[in-house]
Symmetry: C2
Amino acid sequence: MLERPHTLVPLTFFADRYESAKSSISEDLTILKRTFQDRGTGLLETIPGAAGGTRFLPYILKDEAQEVVNKLIEEMSSDTRYLPGGYVYMSDLLGSPATLREIGRIFATQYLNQSVDAVMTIATKGVPIAQSVADFLNVPFVIVRHDTEITEGSTVNVNYVSGSSTRIEKMSLSKRSLRPDSNVLIVDDYMRGGGTVGGMISMVEEFDANLIGVGVVAESTAPNGRTIGDYTSLMRVDAENNTVVSQPGNYIEKIFN
Amino acid sequence: MLERPHTLVPLTFFADRYESAKSSISEDLTILKRTFQDRGTGLLETIPGAAGGTRFLPYILKDEAQEVVNKLIEEMSSDTRYLPGGYVYMSDLLGSPATLREIGRIFATQYLNQSVDAVMTIATKGVPIAQSVADFLNVPFVIVRHDTEITEGSTVNVNYVSGSSTRIEKMSLSKRSLRPDSNVLIVDDYMRGGGTVGGMISMVEEFDANLIGVGVVAESTAPNGRTIGDYTSLMRVDAENNTVVSQPGNYIEKIFN
């Protein structure tokens, strides 16, 4: 059940597996429910009736979320992460399973009560974020690419203006990857001008799908404002003069206040 | 403990968390150990002494592994997956959290008793595989790229011959991403001629690291043989004349026989 979050498991499954009566399973689940709630691991939702069962919705509480954000900020605030041109090295964080799990749980909490059908991101560094969020929501994720690869079949292409460079770029997504009317959550690792995220929003529209939200791990202070309206960020990270400065993003305030 | 596989958790952690004596925790763990073993979920390893504790090593048993491989083969054997030029569409499988969890568990089982320090893959479609295997082994994963991106900092570049096209291509990996002498496991989604995997093997050598193994989800029947010696594959998938033919790879035979 923990491995299949957001999926309804019928009581008969547990009864068969543990060879016990449904009533005692039901009691055990009540204990588990209380434990999860006390611990802030998630919500155990029970739906009565023949078609009913129980469903685990993982979430994170404010204190733990705050802790995760603080830890991320601390890790990011190292000048060794500074890269020429005002860029920041964060590939190591996006390659750490423990960090990714925390990021996934944080964003999954935000969309706990919304029906998300797919998580969308852009290659390459958005992929680990998307996979982790999708894992906690137990929905598929789709990868938009900068190049068109033959193994994607027919694709839908979108042109967008890269905010930081004011160049026109292209992104493509396999036609098979999204159904019309899907509810799509966009995630990415870093947002500067918002051009890439804007491109993905156009992509969602091209597929006649619905945008549910935008979540980024880090955003920079946008120099000329952003074209993206509503989004959530865990951190605000800026790199200038060989220094990296990290502060909290809008997540905690937006979700818990 | 389940969320941090391969990590030693001291008994005192459980004693503090559940406010009970170490002896009763120890009894509970024995029950858990038996349950895990009966169910084939994994191994609970207990190390005695003051520096000791308990560690969860997830694995998969032969029957379940066989089931996972059969399910993959069934899903792959659809002619709608055929793409012009003898390519196969499998992005949907690589975007399904449930499938990825199974693939991760399968490869993690193979390297259960070996010390793996990092999982290496190449962008874009290898990333979900690497993340899932790394998650089960609880080690970081690193992403080799075809392009050199500014946010990677200084990189090490390797030229390789793409087997299928006999073109010379370039791959690069951030210098910061691997420590010398690391034990590296290479994974990828699909192997044709083996040129890309061969390039990654050269990359491992460039970093003075050690190659532990190579695992691919699918391999094609190599037309002119392969340059790669030892590897593990879950499936053998060939696409010809608008048809996709899938068979078991060498995994089950290699690991369980």
